[in-house]
């Protein structure tokens, strides 16, 4: 900064024309559609992501019909689906693969990441750091408006000749290189989604580092903010390689290059025209370089939400706050050097496989630390079983199952049998479905009063929680046994193979559970919409929590706080001895 610029700096606080419109004078479009307010953008992200979540779930329900009753026509909607998916009401093999690929892609890139980072992150992080908005409000808006077209391109691929991408969410070439047009749409959509994440992550990091309220040092940040901080770094550094890979695959498909095509491919007894010289494994490296950190992108915000909910409802400080933070940082760092454990079966030698096994075992340690810290936080507590607390509590054992079942997959020898079986499906779904999605529900119930100024209904919430908890285990627990028996994933006909035929009963049970799980989301939807309009009005701090978002009115106005709060203490000062109340908010000064 030059001396001149420094001299100018203080005079230059005129915000005119810098995009921060005065709320009162803004048009409807600027307020609700092309808004630069982080709260509006957060809500936009949340609603969009919830729609995608429901859509991705719906795709799975259709696939589940085929898996329960192979080759039976799909009831009700079988006739409505396009030619690319069904034939005379029966899902085709191509259609099954397409639904599978789109289920994975939609859930990971268009539902959970936008919900966890775009939704919760956008809404809560600036509030929690005591900022009036994100550091770059217009960039924030751009991030949403890049995300949406990406999602729409993905959806549009359902109407393309040949249907949407059908090469799995991993899109391994050469299969994806020789696939139909839907794959091109998938690639273009992904490039949009990645760009959106990059814009968002820059914004998050700058906001968290630069915009903290006075007194809010890094180690006074709530764990949720730390989790978002690490997540943003993962998005920032892990996503570009997939963008590069996407560009290369796009070149392969559009310009006829051979980045991923080796020489002499014979497809359907015909020599393929690609000149060759490429490496199919290159894609896997670039893809998993992203996709393993992506796992932590899915899980870290969830851990953050759960920590907030647990701290507020156990009425005591989180156990081991600093070790939680260090564990999250360490997780983030390590997640970049474990990716090839997804590739053990490609013919990896002993040296490198040992390296990746070691890093994989090492990365399990911080996860154990986080889980232990959260569980010990219950000791000596005064647990208030609110609906968000129930979801957060259920998250812990579910995440534990998901984490533990990663062990046999991370060791090469046991991976030989379990690789690409239903065991893998069970494993990662336990992490993201009863894990992350339960945490998302906890977050929705927890911050709903802040966002709308109204509480959600407890009875409906309890119904939603208990039945979801039962059925979601009914969906994923049998998968471990199916995988043990050797049933492979991505099988259109579940009975085609000897070892899978014997566990078909379990597969049918999974399907029933999945449909029931869908049914018990109805109370949630009713609760969500009814509470927006007619829920019981909420106070500014209904959970009597300590973090900064509760210093703002519910719902917070444009600019968030009446005046920027000053922070006086750490994030989880609950049940401090000698205090009048059992919580000491960060934004209130204590006497003496």
């Amino acid at each position: 900064m030059s001396t001149h610029a420094a001299a100018q700096a203080h005079a230059g606080h005129d915000q005119h024309g810098s995009g921060h419109d005065h709320h009162a004078h803004s048009s409807w479009w600027r307020t609700y559609v092309f808004s630069t307010d982080h709260k509006t953008i957060g809500i936009q992200y949340t609603i969009t992501a919830l729609c995608f979540l429901a859509f991705g779930f719906g795709l799975m329900l259709i696939m589940r019909w085929q898996l329960a009753y192979p080759s039976d026509p799909i009831p009700l909607i079988g006739g409505l689906l396009g030619k690319s998916l069904v034939e005379s009401g029966v899902l085709t093999g191509q259609g099954y693969n397409a639904l599978g690929a789109m289920h994975g892609t939609i859930m990971v890139f268009m539902a959970i990441v936008p919900l966890a980072v775009g939704g919760f992150g956008n809404y809560v992080v600036p509030l929690m750091v005591g900022a009036q908005d994100m550091a770059f409000p217009r960039l924030n808006m751009a991030s949403y408006w890049v995300f949406l077209p990406g999602g729409l391109i993905m959806l549009a691929s359902f109407f393309m000749p040949g249907g949407p991408a059908a090469s799995g969410w991993t899109s391994y070439p050469p299969l994806s290189n020789i696939a139909t047009m839907g794959q091109t749409a998938w690639l273009i959509g992904m490039i949009f989604l990645i760009t959106s994440s990059l814009l968002g992550s820059v914004n998050f990091i700058v906001t968290i580092v630069q915009l903290r309220a006075p007194g809010l040092s890094m180690f006074r940040l709530p764990f949720f903010v730390w989790a978002q901080f690490v997540t943003a770094f993962l998005l920032l550094l892990a996503f570009p390689p997939l963008e590069a890979a996407g560009v290369l695959q796009l070149m392969d498909r559009v310009a006829g290059t051979s980045f991923f095509m080796p020489q002499g491919l014979v497809v359907s007894q015909k020599l393929h025209e690609a000149v060759g010289g490429g490496s199919p494994l290159l894609w896997q490296h670039l893809f998993w370089f992203l996709a393993h950190p992506e796992v932590y992108v899915l899980i870290l915000p969830a851990l953050g939400i759960v920590s907030e909910v647990i701290a507020a409802n156990t009425r005591k400080p989180l156990w081991g706050y600093k070790s939680l933070v260090y564990a999250a940082l360490f997780l983030g760092f390590m997640s970049f050097i474990v990716w090839a454990h997804h590739m053990f079966m490609t013919g990896m030698g002993t040296t490198l496989s040992t390296f990746f096994q070691i890093t994989t075992m090492i990365i399990s340690i911080p996860s154990v630390i986080v889980l232990t810290a959260l569980i010990i936080s219950y000791h000596g507590a005064s647990i208030r079983y609110s609906v968000p607390m129930l979801f957060a509590t259920a998250f812990l054992p579910m995440f534990a199952i998901g984490g533990l079942t990663g062990l046999p997959l991370g060791l090469t020898a046991s991976d030989i049998h379990l690789h690409d079986t239903y065991y893998v499906i069970g494993h990662f779904h336990y992490v993201v479905a009863p894990g992350t999605i339960f945490a998302m529900f906890a977050g929705i119930y927890h911050w709903f009063p802040k966002v709308t100024g109204r509480m959600m209904n407890r009875t409906l919430g309890l119904i939603h929680f208990w039945f979801s908890f039962i059925f979601i285990n009914g969906v994923f627990m049998p998968m471990f046994f199916m995988g043990m028996a050797g049933a492979l994933r991505r099988q259109y006909d579940p009975e085609a193979q000897l070892h899978a035929e014997t566990v078909q009963g379990l597969s049918r049970m999974v399907s029933y559970s999945a449909w029931c799980l869908a049914a018990v989301q109805i109370p949630f939807v009713i609760n969500f919409f009814r509470s927006i309009w007619s829920g019981q009005p909420a106070s500014q701090n209904p959970w009597q929590a300590t973090t900064l978002e509760w210093a703002a009115p519910s719902p917070p106005p444009h600019g968030n706080f009446a005046q920027v709060p000053t922070v006086h203490c750490g994030p989880y000062e609950y049940s401090v001895p000698g205090e009048r109340r059992d919580f000491c908010p960060q934004f209130e000064a204590r006497e003496a």
Binding site: G93, N97, Y172, P174, P262, Q263, G264, L265, V267, S268, Q269, L271, G276, S279, T314, K316, P317, M345, T346, G347, T350, T354, Q357, M361, S364, I365, T372, I376, Y378, H379, G380, A381, S382, I383, T393, I401, L407, L411, T412, A413, S414, I416, H417, D420, T421, M484, A485, G486, L488, Y492, D493, A496, Q497, L498, H499, E501, T502, Y574, S575, D582
Partner: protein, 322 residues
């Protein structure tokens, strides 16, 4: 090890190294169970004991963390043991010590959408040249029978036959996309990456006959439901029928419609039958629309059966040549 080969937990293991993989899986799962139950007991205790009650506040002082430290260190040590004690040596043995060429049965498995083909070097022990430009629907691998003398006695088969108790060395390749050569019963899995040739090896220790005995079931022939739908395709008889007198159907006969009619005509309504193929080579990596149907039967033959099969295959080749 009784009951059916394929059931709710691990399938029967039919290979020499598979037992070690199974015990590793078992050890890990016991470890997981103990850890989870341990956590669970503490967790449930906390959930009940520390629920909100009027007049009781939460403790601000944090519980001492020694126990958790021990638990974490314990977990880390055990993971280290799993890693360096079990997994790495197993993988290293499995991946770096191929059976010597003179002791092994050598075969190449070539994946394509959506089938496996197996290329045996034949009597001379040499693989014939494969030329992608020669590939056609009658020459699936593009074997150069005219140009390469080593190719003359080569066997190309859609079935994988391996001899019992002998090392099998499989070179895995792919013609088009990535497949994965997987035999659940042998605890074998290896991706078939186009442009690469990666070997795996295993030693079958259980024969197909043994599997078949265990899988044999009573089948009722006069049921109105079709017996030969895709699930039960490939059944063969396990005994001669009728057992006494002149049999109309022999052990090993395929249970096709003609056989069933003959048996029903002879007044036989139930038979013991089992699948002909009791083990399968499947594809474990998504390879396109018919990925699920990409499988090949695997037969673990006794040495006599294996020789007989090879002779029969060579005879076919000679017929071809004429």
């Amino acid at each position: 090890m009784n009951g059916a080969p394929y059931g709710r937990w691990l399938p029967w293991n039919a290979s020499e190294h598979g037992g070690q993989i199974d015990s590793l899986i078992d050890v890990i799962h016991w470890f997981m169970l103990i850890l989870f139950v341990g956590w669970g007991i503490f967790f449930v205790y906390c959930l009940v004991r520390f629920r909100q009650k009027p007049g009781r506040n939460a403790a601000y002082e944090l519980p001492k963390g020694a126990a958790s430290k021990y638990a974490e260190v314990g977990v880390a040590i055990f993971e280290g043991f799993l890693l360096f004690g079990l997994s790495v040596p197993l993988w290293s043995r499995y991946k770096t010590a191929p059976p010597p060429p003179e002791k092994r049965m050598d075969v190449t498995a070539i994946g394509e959408q959506f089938a496996w083909n197996f290329h045996y070097p034949g009597k001379d022990g040499k693989y014939g040249r494969l030329d992608p430009t020669l590939i056609s629907s009658s020459n699936l691998l593009g074997l150069d029978k005219d140009g390469d003398p080593a190719a003359e006695d080569d066997i190309v088969s859609p079935e994988l036959h391996v001899p019992l108790n002998q090392d099998v060395y499989v070179r895995i390749r792919s013609k088009d996309v990535i497949h994965s050569f997987a035999i659940p019963a042998m605890r074998v899995k290896q991706d078939a990456v186009p442009g690469m040739e990666v070997p795996v090896w295993f030693k079958p220790t259980r024969s197909s006959d043994e599997f078949r005995e265990a899988m044999a079931r009573e089948y009722s022939l006069d049921q109105p439901t079709p017996l030969f739908n895709k699930k039960k395709a490939g059944l063969i008889l396990m005994e001669d029928y009728p057992a006494s007198g002149e049999p109309v159907a022999h052990k090993g006969d395929a249970l096709v419609n003609a056989t069933v009619e003959k048996l029903l005509a002879a007044g036989i309504k139930t038979v013991r039958a089992a699948p002909r193929a009791t083990m399968e080579v499947v594809c474990a990596q998504l390879c396109g629309m018919n990925h699920y149907s990409m499988k090949a039967p695997l037969f673990v033959d006794t040495p006599e059966q294996f020789e007989a099969w090879k002779t029969a295959q060579s005879a076919e080749i000679e017929i071809d040549l004429e």
